[in-house]
Symmetry: C2
Subunit: 440 residues, 2 copies
């Protein structure tokens, strides 16, 4: 066990649980950071994304890809949303996937009756509990909500399938109201209760407090759903697991209402930093890129340039001091290992921020031989050109080769055909000792 708080990350990325810096927190026995499940909602929350229109074929392709990735649950749009939504729900239930299939409905018997006939493994029920939603959405009071909930829950349970009860806009709901209704539905025997940050207002410590309190009130599992309006959806999910929640709602690239929810890929990045062994034992994380490309194409968006893991520069190192240390040991500046995701790192050396260590390793790649002092000298030349304009790799290679040829054959310029063949970029360095010592 290499995890010991402040020095939590082992060099080979093995089982590096992130703990509090000051040793075990008395509350951390509740943590499910190493025991969580995913409710994948690209086919429900994701359908609420502005650009989303999934035809049946696309839905089935997505469901199969999610199942292959290893998600625990797949959540589908309510079968009462439209006739095709109902048919698609039935079709996906018949695929025989390993993942359990859920559908997401309002807390109403009309919806529940349709849902249980689709063949789903479970039903996710939601109702607004905040003053806002009670006033401007359904207009019902807490007694009415409780009675509807009991009726729907007992009906779904009588069909022998799973049932989750969730409040909506939980972080703007009255705490006592919330705990009351959660305790009530827990006693009837729901499989899960859900907390939903429907508007994206929650912050991590608030999440931790609410989850921990709820954990002391109910016996069933706790599921959490976080919108990303203020950019905290991944952190809130992580903190919810620390507080004792067991299941997190995600969607591929986070697509959903407004700017969406906790993204699958981003949460995987977070969880791998906490417990790589657990994540890799359950989920095929090397398929994240394909999954994201599938969804990005279906909803016509680009992968964000700054996406965790798959953003084009997520494993690109540029500043000289970063490059130097990365070449010596990638763990110095990487909490995630690109090879886990079928990706490679890239040392960006063609710029004015470069350092001589990066240039020296490029010299080695070019099969040229320069002393450290000579590498420093040629680095200065590269920085000088980098001050004038954006550089590419050919620029750097030309400077290095010219410098080298000036040293070795000062009066005869080599022909370009006489230059050694070189790899295009300084990429794909692995962490093997052999290679590393070569680069040191």
């Amino acid at each position: 066990m290499s995890a010991n708080g402040f020095k939590a990350v082992s060099e080979n990325f093995s089982h590096n649980v992130q703990q509090n810096p000051y040793g075990p927190n008395p509350a951390d026995f509740l943590s499910n950071v190493s025991n969580f499940q995913l409710i994948e909602s690209t086919l429900r929350e994701g359908e609420q994304f502005a650009n989303a229109f999934f035809d049946t074929e696309t839905k089935i392709k997505i469901a199969k890809a999610l199942d292959d990735f290893g998600v625990d649950y797949i959540e589908l749009t309510s079968p009462v949303a439209s006739e095709q939504s109902r048919k698609d729900c039935e079709a996906i239930c018949k695929l025989g996937l390993k993942a359990k299939i859920l559908t997401h409905i309002r807390c109403h018997m009309d919806d529940a009756r349709v849902a249980v006939e689709t063949g789903v493994d479970g039903v996710d029920v939601v109702i607004g509990t905040s003053q806002f939603l009670r006033q401007y959405s359904h207009g019902k009071d807490m007694n009415y909500i409780a009675q509807s909930a009991i009726e729907v829950i007992e009906f779904v349970k009588s069909k022998g399938i799973e049932i989750r009860f969730s409040s909506e806009d939980s972080f703007r709901s009255d705490l006592v109201d919330l705990l009351n209704i959660y305790r009530t539905v827990d006693k009837i025997g729901v499989n899960r209760v859900g907390i939903a940050d429907t508007v994206g207002c929650a912050n991590p410590r608030q999440v931790y407090e609410l989850v921990r309190t709820l954990k002391s009130v109910v016996n069933c599992d706790i599921e959490c759903h976080f919108h990303n309006d203020t950019g905290c959806a991944i952190a809130n999910a992580y903190t919810a697991l620390e507080g004792g929640a067991r299941l997190i709602d995600v969607s591929v690239l986070g697509i959903g209402e407004r700017n969406g929810i906790t993204p699958l890929g981003g949460l995987m990045a977070r969880m791998i930093a906490a417990d790589r062994d657990y994540v890799l034992s359950k989920y095929k994380v090397h398929k994240i890129r394909d999954l994201e490309n599938l969804i990005a194409e279906a909803v016509q968006v680009n992968i964000p340039f700054n996406n965790p893991i798959t953003g084009f520069c997520a494993f690109t190192h540029k500043a000289g001091i970063h490059a130097k240390a990365i070449l010596a040991n990638p763990s110095t500046y990487e909490i995630l290992s690109p090879s886990d995701f079928g990706l490679t790192r890239y040392i960006h050396f063609a710029n004015r921020l470069t350092g001589w260590n990066a240039i020296k390793s490029r010299v080695d790649q070019l099969n040229l031989h320069l002393t450290d002092a000579q590498c420093k000298e040629v680095t200065e030349k590269i920085k000088k050109l980098g001050d004038v304009r954006q550089l590419n790799i050919d620029d750097v290679d030309s400077i290095i080769k010219e410098f080298h040829s000036d040293l070795t054959t000062p009066l005869v310029k080599p022909t370009s055909s006489g230059l050694p063949k070189v790899p295009h970029v300084l990429e794909g360095l692995d962490e093997s000792e052999e290679k590393r010592s070569k680069l040191d």
Copy 2:
């Protein structure tokens, strides 16, 4: 004061501080959520972004735009990175901006001597303190680090300008080593000490604990710098402020090494949800879009589709039950008000998830008159077509108009020129009572 924990968000978005659900936390007297400052690092951390090459003219344009926005500090690339970097630093110092100008250097007298001659208002010094960096980067021990720090700090102070001392990779550094060096530099009289999550491994509760502990050890301000590899950079920044940090490093769109750091816009979203009055009193948040466009163009990236505030769908509401409540009161599903950012909300009604409330408000916009029952009927027709293919607004309008004309003049089709002029989309609803009651 409308803030009362769980029901923290007032309807008119005024001063809605997010607190813990269970009343004041004993530690929250340390919170700087309503008293924070921004160190804007697009021209330092941002230069380390893979695509970044800022020429002098662009740097000056960016610096002026940041100053106009209201950032407290602007941090620039080290003047020893390249000759032009030094000249640009001097040029920006001479602009006479309201923001204080900083440059960021290694903890070394060679760098410090150059830095203090540029005309900056302060110097940010950094040195790696983790085992990784001590082994693979500079190779120095903690005694050496302390002695270098003392020499550099006393030298910079002797020039009468601000000095910050930061560790690097703080969350993988030994806690006792960290507290020791921070106490040492605090006693010499640094203006700030910095905590840096250089690899993006930190999580919010860990951040809170470290900041709070450090707060009990030093008297100076605490600055925090968070990378976003695991998607927690905004949440970590917020939690750091809760723990007593005062300054957060940001860059526009978060650009920086790898997938970057806490983004300026995303942090503004988070802070407005916590204390809108404070944020609006200090920063011109309606300029976020222009700032982001300026940087996106300079580094040749697209604004991420899911960006907080400025993502193309950040204020787009689609699901029927969402649209219904948003039309009644935008606060039901919005923690941020689009008008604060010079933006408008959009109700996406041309899809199979639509509800009759959204369609009814479209009918009203078209100046047609249908009863609720008729609106429900036409909604079913729209959902049916939405099951077959992706809809656009013209599709919906055609269905509504045809339905309406069938009702009113069943035997005579109206000519298209006879149709009322309609706004292109159902957007830009403001929160005025007048408009809202019209839409109810």
